[in-house]
C-alpha cells in the first residue's frame, strides 16, 4: 500500500544546477506536515514539480497511488491538490470575492449555453458559487472586504485570500508556500491558528513551506528539512531541533581549530 502522497527519488536540474536532489518523503492522509530549509534550498521547486509547473527529471511523485507525471497542471488540480504562491498570484484587478469564485466555479458547473443565455441553472448556480466563496472568505476573515479589488488589500490579507482561493478548489492536499512571508509577529500567530483550524475543519492534508523555524516547529508534528536540494533530516520538531545537519544548515559550521 503506497502512501497518500509520496515523492521518491525526485530530481530536478536547471542547467548545471541540481535544484532538487533525490528527494524522498511521504505524507499520510490528514497530516499537517512542514517542509523547511534555508532560502534557496529548493522548497518552492518541489511545489512546482508536484503541481506540474515543471516536469521531474528523475523519480516519481504519487498522489493516492497515481503517478502525477501523467497529468497536466490543470489536471493535477482536479485530482485534489491545490496550492498558494510565495510571491502572490492573485487576480489583482478582480474583486476579492471574484478571485475566490474563479476557483469555486469548478465544483458547481453549468453549461456554456446556460452562461450565454443566463437561463436554466445559471442564476441558482451562480448564487451557489457566490455563497460558497463568501463562506470561505468568512473563514479567513475577509468577508467584509469582498467587493474590494484584490490588489488593494494589505499584504497579509492577500495571503489569506490566496488560502481561501486554494480552498475553493475543494482540495484534499493543500500546499502552502511560505504563508507567513512578510507578516508581522501578530499576524503570524493568527495565521498559525487559521492553518490549524482549516486542517481540522476541512479534514485536509496540508504541507507547509517555511524557512522560519519557529512557525513550522509550532504547528507541524512532521517536518522534512532540506538544504541544497537534498533532504537532510526528517522527524518531529524535537528531533529536527537537535539534528546536527539542521543546525549546520541554519547556523553554519563551527570552525575547527
Amino acid at each position: 500500500m503506497s502512501a497518500f502522497f509520496e515523492l521518491s527519488g525526485v530530481t530536478k536540474n536547471f542547467g548545471g544546477v541540481r535544484a532538487v536532489d533525490n528527494m524522498t518523503f511521504a505524507i499520510e492522509k490528514g497530516e499537517l506536515a512542514g517542509l523547511m530549509g534555508p532560502n534557496g534550498a529548493g522548497k518552492t521547486t518541489i511545489f512546482n514539480l508536484v503541481t506540474g509547473v515543471y516536469g521531474v527529471d528523475c523519480g516519481t511523485i504519487t498522489f493516492k497511488g497515481e503517478d502525477l507525471a501523467r497529468f497536466k497542471t490543470y489536471g493535477i488540480v482536479h485530482k485534489g491538490i491545490s496550492r498558494t504562491f510565495q510571491n502572490l498570484r492573485l487576480f489583482q484587478r478582480s474583486s476579492v470575492v471574484e478571485n475566490v469564485m474563479t476557483a469555486a466555479q469548478h465544483g458547481i458547473p453549468y453549461t456554456f449555453a446556460e452562461g450565454m443565455t443566463h437561463l436554466g441553472r445559471w442564476r441558482r448556480k451562480e448564487k451557489e458559487i457566490k455563497a460558497k466563496s463568501m463562506e470561505l472568505l468568512e473563514r479567513v476573515g475577509l468577508a467584509d472586504r469582498a467587493n474590494q479589488a484584490a490588489g488593494t488589500l494589505p499584504y497579509g490579507h492577500q495571503r489569506r485570500l490566496e488560502i481561501a482561493r486554494a480552498l475553493a478548489l475543494d482540495p484534499e492536499l493543500l500546499l502552502l508556500d511560505e504563508p507567513a512571508a512578510g507578516m508581522n509577529a501578530e499576524e503570524v500567530i493568527s495565521l498559525n491558528a487559521l492553518i490549524r483550524d482549516l486542517h481540522r475543519d476541512f479534514e485536509l492534508t496540508i504541507l507547509v513551506i517555511e524557512h522560519h523555524m519557529d512557525l513550522i516547529m509550532e504547528i507541524c508534528p512532521h517536518i522534512v528539512c532540506m538544504n541544497f536540494g537534498a533532504k537532510i533530516a526528517e522527524g518531529t520538531p524535537d528531533e529536527i531541533q537537535g539534528h546536527p545537519e539542521v543546525l549546520k544548515a541554519y547556523l553554519g559550521e563551527e570552525e575547527e581549530e
Binding site: 488540480v77 491545490s82 474583486s95 452562461g115 450565454m116 443565455t117 443566463h118 488593494t152
Partner: protein
C-alpha cells in the same frame, strides 16, 4: 429617419458586433490580434457567395459564413494559442494578409480584386438592430458567467489560472472562436449593407482599427468597446465632407484619448458600475 442617418446606425451596429468580438479576445482574454478583418472577410465572402450564387436565404448564409470564420480560427488557434506570449498576434498578421491575397487571386470564386457585386441588400435597419441586440445580450451574459471569469483568469495570470484548474489553451482557443464568430457575422452584415465587397476592405488597416477601437474603449470593458465604436464611427462619418483630413482627425482623436486616459475611455469598468459609482470609491 433619412437614408444617410439610417446608414450610419447600421454601420454602427456592424462595427459594434465586430468590436465585441475583438473585445472578448483582447480585452477579456488578453490576446492581441492584428488580423481580425480576415474573419470579417470570410464571413462576408461566404455569405455573399451563398446568397448570390446558391440562392440561400441570408439568415442561414450569415450563420454559415460565421461558422467558416470559426473553423479557420480553430485551425489557426490550436498551434498558436498553446504558446503563451504574442505568437497569435504575429500569426494573425499573416492570416489577415493570406486571406486577403487568396480573395484577390481566387478569381473563379471571389471575382478577385475588382470585388464581389450584386449582393442582396438584406442588412436593413431592423436586421442590424436585431443582430446587435441579440449578440450583445449573449456577449454581456457570457462575460458575466463562468466562461468570462475563466477568460479573465487567463488574461491576468496564466500560471495561476492553470493552477486553479483551467485548461488555458482551450479557453484561449474558445475565446478566439467566439470572437471570430462575431467578426464573421459583422462581415456578412457589412456585405449585405454595402451590397458590394472587395478584398481591400478587409486589409491590415481594418484589423488595426478593430483592435484600436477596443483599446480606445478600455481593455476589459464590454460597454467601453461599444462606446469606442460609437466615437470612432461617428468621428469618421462626421468628417466625411472634409475627407482628405478624415484620417488625420481619426489619428488625433486616438492620440488625445491615449494621452488623457491611457487605460481607455472606460478602463476595465462597465458602464453600469460607472453610473452607480463614477469615481470608483467603492472599489478603493
Amino acid at each position: 429617419m433619412s437614408g444617410y442617418a439610417e446608414g450610419i446606425v447600421v454601420l454602427l451596429c456592424i462595427n459594434a458586433i465586430a468590436a465585441m468580438g475583438v473585445s472578448l479576445l483582447t480585452g477579456f482574454t488578453g490576446i492581441f490580434s492584428l488580423g481580425h478583418a480576415a474573419y470579417m472577410a470570410l464571413g462576408a465572402y461566404t455569405t455573399a457567395i451563398l446568397t448570390v450564387q446558391h440562392g440561400v436565404h441570408f439568415l442561414p448564409a450569415i450563420m454559415l459564413g460565421a461558422c467558416v470564420a470559426v473553423a479557420v480560427a480553430f485551425f489557426i488557434g490550436i498551434p498558436t494559442l498553446k504558446l503563451m506570449g504574442d505568437y497569435y498576434a504575429i500569426a494573425s498578421i499573416g492570416l489577415g494578409e493570406a486571406i486577403r491575397l487568396i480573395l484577390e487571386n481566387w478569381q473563379s470564386v471571389t471575382r478577385g480584386a475588382r470585388g464581389y457585386p450584386g449582393i442582396d441588400n438584406y442588412t436593413t435597419l431592423p436586421v442590424a438592430l436585431a443582430f446587435v441586440v441579440i449578440m450583445g445580450i449573449f456577449m454581456f451574459n457570457l462575460i458575466n458567467s463562468r466562461f468570462g471569469r475563466a477568460c479573465k483568469a487567463c488574461r491576468d495570470d496564466h500560471v495561476a489560472a492553470s493552477l486553479l484548474g483551467f485548461n488555458t489553451a482551450r479557453i484561449r482557443v474558445a475565446s478566439l472562436m467566439i470572437s471570430a464568430f462575431y467578426c464573421g457575422v459583422a462581415g456578412a452584415l457589412l456585405g449585405g449593407f454595402l451590397s458590394f465587397i472587395q478584398p481591400v476592405m478587409f486589409d491590415m488597416m481594418k484589423s488595426t482599427e478593430l483592435t484600436a477601437v477596443v483599446v480606445f474603449g478600455g481593455l476589459g470593458s464590454m460597454s467601453g468597446c461599444l462606446l469606442g465604436t460609437a466615437v470612432i464611427t461617428l468621428v469618421t462619418e462626421l468628417f466625411r465632407p472634409i475627407s482628405q483630413f478624415r484620417m488625420l482627425i481619426y489619428g488625433a482623436v486616438l492620440v488625445i484619448i491615449m494621452v488623457l486616459r491611457p487605460e481607455g475611455i472606460m478602463g476595465n469598468r462597465e458602464l453600469l458600475s460607472w453610473i452607480k459609482d463614477p469615481f470608483g470609491r467603492r472599489s478603493k
